[in-house]
Symmetry: C2
């Protein structure tokens, strides 16, 4: 996770400096299967690649497979040669956790000690792992409507002594991470104390919304990418309803990491609207490839190249 | 090639019946490397997948690698699970040849005996291989400005006795395939006899054009996909210049294959404008996967799934 955080922070910096290339992701909608695929290409820090990722919310119940699975192709930008092909499912979770940690580094109060997790799935797990790298977390609160999910989370993260709480108690924390798939806001304005930083992770597709829009109106709102956030992030439903305007967004996280705009100031409430960027995936894939080389793991693709010789 | 032709013909039929899902491909332009990548997702005939393909024209000279290399991820549309990952470079060549053959089947005169190839690279090779499946080719003519390229082609295709000819002689054939990267039209109107069918393969990106626009104006023009063709196919430069109009296009190949519109009628000149569709790739990938299963080749990815169990 340390290496992924470093890579993701650098990717946001490159983005903030205008050095990345990242077309809008395209969707392959498959309504007949109640799912979709997304193709996410990017160039960042001298690396190029693509993530191919699905979202099939019925998987857990129907098949036991994860809702989200991904494959990453890591390519040489100079020749186009495919340097590596790897699972992107675990990378997706790690790079999302890392983005939450980078946002918290720049937007949460330095002395933050309590972390409130709303939702207790794979995304909550990596938010905790990543944020704990920057903050000395004395208190970790967890809320989910599922007791089983909370119990599993507590058992898995014994070293953090997570407390099962109500939703209201969970969000009464210095740093709050919302990682649910809800379509109606569940976090009320009046529960959020001054100085709180919120990582709004869950909303990443049409209709999804976790926070009371009143929070956005009084907070310093930072997005990962304004185009993606205004189309599918936490801000997109309030924008569609005319409650919130794109122009109210304070900055892209990359601008803050690159030093173009300051991060937290005083006791304001801050919100990071995370939709997930292809540059996070490609930057993390680069780390994996370098590590695989160093450790001598992975298998070489040479059969294909032999066949190409005849073309 | 027989299996690929069958799969590609079925894919065009599905397209013609409106049963495919294929968003416009997205480009990752890398001007600093004089190349680009394209992400091409599609759903066809119950199969889903993505091709990730580059175009780096300087590769041959600089590195000896092909200009175009591709990887295909073949996914289960019902769950999103990645069923197979395979080279897409050879598939790209085969499926392009297959499209030329399917177009020729519906658009060339049944009694066509002569094939003229303009350009002698990988695309000319698969056009010949595929078209020879439908036509009894008594004469194969080849033209290229490179003698070396022509000699290599002749040596590789002895069973067809290819004749090295001038450009004008080559296009004086029943079926003509243009597979060059030129940006100024090289095939003159007056060289084309009545009843000729032309597969215009080369133009697949901004600024590329092989045929005298006067040919388009008198021919029955069929495209693979009107959106792609009018943006980057043989017709796009004449459209941009106002010489040709999108409305002049007679049909998409899929409509003819599906029987919605008739193909060749009488001694007209016909042109197939091929840009290459993601559905051709996914349909061909399905053939490869089924063959790999039948033959028991390929390696299973199970390590990843074991890791997912912990998510």
């Amino acid at each position: 996770m340390d290496m992924v955080i470093e890579a993701v922070e650098e990717a946001f910096e490159e983005y903030g400096k205008g050095r990345t290339i990242m077309p809008a992701k395209i969707y392959l909608p498959l309504e007949q299967y109640q799912g979709d695929f997304r193709a996410m290409p990017a160039f960042v820090g001298g690396s190029a690649g693509l993530k191919w990722v699905n979202v099939h919310p019925r998987n857990r119940i129907k098949t036991g497979l994860p809702t989200v699975m991904a494959v990453i192709i890591y390519s040489d930008p100079e020749t186009g040669f495919p340097l590596a092909i790897m699972d992107g499912t675990i990378i997706t979770n790690y790079r999302t956790g890392a983005a939450g940690a980078v946002a918290s580094k720049y937007l949460a109060r330095k002395e933050s000690r309590s972390l409130g997790l709303v939702g207790c799935g794979a995304q909550a797990q990596t938010q905790l792992e990543a944020i704990s790298k920057f903050f000395d977390l004395g208190i970790v609160r967890i809320f989910s409507p599922s007791q089983d999910c909370m119990n599993a989370f507590v058992a898995k993260n014994k070293e953090f002594y997570p407390e099962k709480t109500s939703l209201e108690e969970a969000v009464n924390s210095d740093i709050v991470c919302t990682t649910t798939p809800v379509k109606n806001s569940i976090v009320n304005r009046e529960w959020i104390k001054e100085g709180t930083h919120i990582n709004a992770i869950g909303a990443d597709a049409k209709g999804k919304e976790e926070l009371d829009p009143a929070i956005l109106l009084i907070a310093k709102v930072v997005v990962d990418d304004i185009a993606q956030a205004s189309h599918s992030g936490e801000i997109h439903v309030p924008i569609a309803k005319g409650i919130y305007r794109k122009e109210n967004v304070y900055a892209a996280l990359g601008e803050i990491v690159a030093g173009t705009k300051p991060g937290r100031e005083g006791d304001e409430i801050t919100v990071f609207d995370s939709t997930g960027l292809a540059i996070q995936d490609v930057a993390t894939a680069e780390v994996i490839v370098e590590e695989a080389k160093r450790l001598g793991v992975g298998s070489e693709i040479d059969l294909v190249c032999q066949q190409w010789a005849n073309l």
